[in-house]
């Protein structure tokens, strides 16, 4: 996972990093994390007291035992985020999750529709590890741009042609 938690003097102003497909990154007071989502799901874990968290850009529900890109799959991404945040001093019991994405971009069919499966898998694996879902913005037919601010735990969700919302 890219470590963004160290902040030099020049980095004191908050910056925004983009989390690509199958990537995971750490975020903190100085580092917001952003992703553009279609059928993928952004899983954000956040520790409110430490203002530390991480985002995984989950592409598919099930790794079938592959582990080269743990953030690519829901079943490996959720434990990977938890382990990484625990190694940074976050207690699992203090973590909460936010989810966004899982759209069906091609109305009425088209290429492989995986959004609903991604949503179900992310919820299942969060529940399995006892991480509560604090908020979610899921499904539909439009792409999303999401930005997580770890100073206050707000996840801003923008959908084309709509007013953005904060969850």
């Amino acid at each position: 996972m890219s470590n963004t938690a160290t902040a030099s003097t020049e980095e004191k102003l908050a910056k925004t990093l983009s989390v690509g497909m199958g990537q995971a990154m750490l975020g903190d007071r100085n580092t917001r994390l952003s992703a553009i989502l279609g059928s993928c799901v952004a899983v954000v874990l956040w520790h409110p007291r430490l203002n530390l968290g991480a985002m995984a850009h989950v592409v598919l529900p099930d790794s079938h035992g592959k582990s080269e890109m743990p953030a690519k799959f829901a079943d490996t991404a959720v434990p990977y985020l938890v382990r990484t945040l625990e190694s940074k001093g976050c207690n699992r019991s203090g973590l909460m999750a936010k989810l966004a994405g899982g759209a069906c971009m091609f109305k009425g069919g088209g290429p492989l529709q995986i959004g609903d499966d991604n949503i179900a898998a992310c919820r299942t694996h969060l529940q399995r590890l006892g991480i509560p879902i604090a908020a979610e913005d899921l499904g539909g037919t439009g792409g999303r741009k999401v930005t997580m601010d770890f100073t206050n735990g707000s996840l801003t969700v923008e959908i084309a042609g709509r007013v953005s919302r904060v969850i």
Partner: protein, 207 residues
């Protein structure tokens, strides 16, 4: 960091995609009275986590027409415009002034959708001749959304099989001017295998 590769495997596929692009270009010339033609920009193998950066798909809202294959929905053709260029093409095809800032009319959407249909059919006709089995495109979908969101969905079938994806990118030109339009052909692993078999067979016959 290297984010994409033009390796031997992609190099062997270039003549096939060039042939398909030539056929699509001929169809596009006919559709636009000789004004616009296509060139093959590149065939790339890109790591999944860098694909939107390599394709320079930021958070801009784009206008797209998408087609998949009826027999192989993992293969997707995407015709991509920014707002201005999409409007200009619709305006030129309909021979009426465009009205930026307003919602797209059904007629404008139809003009772009038909363009996608013509290009997609031309591409697939060319590939059908090469692989010797019918590749029939679906009806086109008109989409206005984040380019990265749509490309993500279009890459799902490739992502199931691999951590890197194959992308064939085609550019558009009007006389000497490069237009800000692209066609992305995102072949499924199955189609890629068929195309690689064609090139291997051709090499064996030549060698």
């Amino acid at each position: 960091m290297t984010t994409s590769t033009n390796n031997n495997r992609t190099a062997t596929l270039e003549p096939i995609f060039a042939a398909a692009t030539h056929e699509a270009s001929t169809a596009m010339c006919r559709w636009t009275n000789g004004e616009i033609y296509l060139t093959l920009d590149e065939v790339l193998e890109v790591p999944l986590d860098h694909v939107t950066q390599v394709l320079q798909l930021g958070d801009d809202l784009l206008t797209m027409v998408a087609l998949d294959l009826l027999s192989d929905p993992g293969t997707v053709i995407l015709l991509i415009f920014d707002e201005i260029n999409g409007r200009q093409l619709a305006s030129a095809l309909l021979r009426q002034p465009s009205d930026p800032g307003t919602e797209w009319s059904e007629l404008e959407k139809s003009a772009l959708t038909e363009t996608g249909n013509i290009l997609g059919c031309a591409y697939m006709n060319a590939l059908t001749k090469l692989v010797g089995r019918p590749l029939v495109p679906s009806p086109p979908y008109f989409i206005q959304d984040y380019g990265a969101s749509v490309v993500q969905q279009a890459l799902m079938a490739q992502a199931l099989e691999s951590d890197s994806v194959l992308v064939c990118r085609t550019g558009f030109h009007r006389k000497d001017e490069q237009l800000n339009w692209h066609v992305l052909l995102l072949p499924s692993v199955h189609l890629r295998q068929l195309l690689e078999n064609v090139t291997a067979h051709a090499s064996a016959n030549n060698g």
